[in-house]
């Protein structure tokens, strides 16, 4: 009886141990993976902003040592970045579209909205920090990495200073798009 029990319990405990090791490895990174980012980091984007910050923000990402390649395109039907006025408190909003498995998975394209109602009295530096943050979601970065490192994805970053992806953000993007 004891042998039979040990034959059941020991493999179960071993399984739990291996499972916990596997998941710890998967989630030990400082940056946080976000599954609603783009499937392909080479993306065509329409600029529908009323602010003149698009090119600087795109350059901040395109100049990183990552597979990110944002190209501005005219027309409609692509990913797009737009400004407008909404009755809510957010500065910026990322919404994944055309998802891989209908309701979840990576996005085929995205919509990023900047809220002029909350950004009206802010500087272009501040607005750029918001847009570069939202683009971080497009490249699979989640909010508030727990590392304590400086990150464009932190809510409490200084938006009047930090307008570029940090080394931790770059590592997160490279990890998300590693083969």
């Amino acid at each position: 009886m004891k042998r039979k029990l040990s034959k059941i319990i020991v493999p179960m405990l071993l399984s739990l141990l291996i499972t916990s090791m596997l998941t710890t490895v998967a989630f030990a990174a400082q940056y946080i993976y976000y599954g609603g980012g783009l499937l392909n980091p080479a993306v065509e984007v329409e600029n529908r902003l009323s602010y003149g910050i698009f090119h600087d923000c795109v350059d901040e990402w395109n100049s990183t040592d990552t597979p990110v390649d944002i190209t501005q395109v005219p027309g409609s039907g692509h990913s797009y970045i737009i400004s407008g006025q909404w009755d809510d408190t957010w500065y910026g909003m990322y919404t994944p579209q055309s998802r891989q498995y209908v309701f979840w998975g990576r996005a085929g394209k995205f919509k990023i909205e900047l809220n002029r109602s909350t950004l009206v009295s802010e500087s272009d530096t501040f607005r750029s920090s918001v847009l570069v943050h939202e683009l971080g979601h497009a490249f699979c970065l989640d909010d508030n990495p727990s590392s304590g490192n400086s990150s464009i994805m932190n809510y409490d970053r200084n938006r009047n200073y930090l307008t570029w992806p940090t080394s931790d953000d770059i590592a997160g993007v490279n990890d998300a798009y590693a083969d």
Binding site: T19, Q85, T89, R116, D143, Y155
Partner: protein, 201 residues
Amino acid sequence: MTIKHKRVTSILGVVALSIALTVLLCIGLLPKPMFHGDYPYYPDVESITDAADVIIVGEVTKAREVKNLMVDRTPNKSDKEATPYTLSTIKVLRVIKGDLNIGDVITIKQLGDYRNKPEATLHEMDGYLSKDTEQLMFLCEYENSPYSPVNPAQGIIEVRNGVLHSNNKYSLFGYSTDTANAIRTDNSLDVAVESIKKFTD
């Protein structure tokens, strides 16, 4: 079957079970479709008090009604889209700031459909309001739509028996990693209200 074969089979079984458990765990953690908002952050009581049009303690009398609201006020825009929100009805119990009275009934909107398309922070901190709870709320007022919390992480804090509780590390009130210290004097609603009132005049 030899003993060696039995051992190999057992090892393979353990590995297969581990992989199955890992896959199940990862499927459980798969993200739902979400809105990812970048919201204002308030480093202290003064800044959050200044940002709120209204600060109240209220009782949630009705919760989790999902509606698509037209909150897009962009002038001259032809293709405006409605946005899903989760609505709650609040009975005002105490007014700390703003033009409301005790007994007033107001509606709060929280971004996202809490079931199918939640806002990321609210989803992570289980922040959508529940019926029959009491909350300390820092709210922004709008002419043509319901009130919004100043942000999802800091704008709403639950009150249980006069003590504040928050699941979010950015909350200025009621967050504690130490459960034993959760009921501390500085987490009491009365102490919080006094600290807020210093900045309301």
